[in-house]
């Protein structure tokens, strides 16, 4: 059984925290999510094993990318009824400032355009100051809507 359907059967499909609990990689990086009304905010707590540059210390660029990507996916799941997880087609990350690994990182995504099959999502991360964006991204995701034929990808 697909785990999104399982969560749906349990009436928890909109519980993004429960969803993250089912994704091993999300547990590996310790990603959390907060739902504030219709806002979805992700939170990456400081953790030593996420460090890519010990000198600063800074979060590894791959983890920064993963948080941007997962924030986008969580926003899509929040906004749409998905049969299964949206799949990333492409995503472009900009590294604007050091992302310190001894500081909490927050993420917020905006669905720029949502078609029937593909969505374009922008996302940004910040740390201590909301207006100082440390990294941002835009990407395309293939959706698997509940009420449509599944994409072949």
């Amino acid at each position: 059984m697909k785990f999104l359907n399982q969560l749906r059967a349990e009436g928890r499909v909109n519980d993004l925290e429960a969803l993250l609990d089912h994704i091993p990689y999300a547990r590996f990086i310790g990603l959390r999510v907060h739902q504030l009304g219709d806002e979805v905010i992700t939170e990456l707590p400081p953790q030593a094993h996420l460090t890519g540059n010990p000198n600063l210390p800074a979060v590894h660029g791959g983890v920064v990318g993963a948080v941007l990507e997962m924030t986008a996916v969580l926003q899509l799941i929040h906004d749409t009824d998905c049969e299964r997880l949206p799949k990333t087609v492409d995503v472009s990350f900009n590294y604007l400032r050091p992302v310190r690994s001894d500081t909490i990182t927050y993420g917020r995504a905006t669905v720029t355009r949502q078609g029937r099959r593909v969505a374009n999502v922008r996302c940004e991360l910040w740390q201590n100051e909301r207006d100082r964006v440390v990294a941002n991204s835009h990407g395309h995701f293939v959706l698997a809507p509940l009420d449509a034929h599944q994409p072949s990808t």
Partner: protein
């Protein structure tokens, strides 16, 4: 990784560097191959990296970290004794061509296409058996400089000091 001292891009240096990056160690990234044209590192399969529990396919974030690290190593000229250099990733674009096969190691090959005085352009591909059958490809742009000429690392507007870690 220390930002001073010479860093010849040899297999040994890459393997040593990977063990000193906490997240690379947590992922289990390993040196795979280096030639005058490219650098390769690998990511072993691990269930903790699964991104979709329905399929067992590892998350794109692990592939991103793999490609990012490989691209960072390709900034320096393979095999050459290099001057100390600070590397900051400006941007990284990933295209996902197909899922990684559960249970299999993923290899990333990164090739430098152009080095200017301050900017380096790198492309990469993640694959199982052949780069011609890609799992994902990437395009990365790096800013380079000697450590002394780099903007203050923690100051406002400072570049992200990646030192090849992306």
């Amino acid at each position: 990784m220390p930002s001073d001292g010479a860093h010849p891009v040899t297999g040994e240096a890459i393997a040593d560097h990977l063990t000193n990056i906490p997240h690379a160690a947590a992922l289990g990234l390993r040196f795979h191959d280096v030639t005058e044209h490219y650098v390769e590192i690998s990511l072993p399969y691990d269930e903790k990296l699964v991104g979709d529990p329905d399929t067992g396919v590892i998350h794109g974030g692990a592939i991103t970290a793999l490609l990012d690290n490989a691209a960072g190593f390709a900034v320096r000229v393979p095999g050459e004794e290099a001057e100390p250099i600070a590397i900051a990733t400006l941007d990284l674009r990933i295209d996902y061509m197909g899922p990684a096969t559960p249970g299999r190691e993923v290899i990333a090959r990164a090739t430098c296409f152009k080095r200017t005085r301050s900017i380096t352009f790198v492309r990469g591909v993640a694959y199982h058996d052949s780069p011609d059958d890609p799992i994902a490809t990437c395009t990365a742009t790096f800013m380079t400089g000697t450590p002394n000429s780099t903007r203050p690392l923690t100051g406002r507007g400072g570049v992200r000091p990646a030192e090849g870690t992306g």
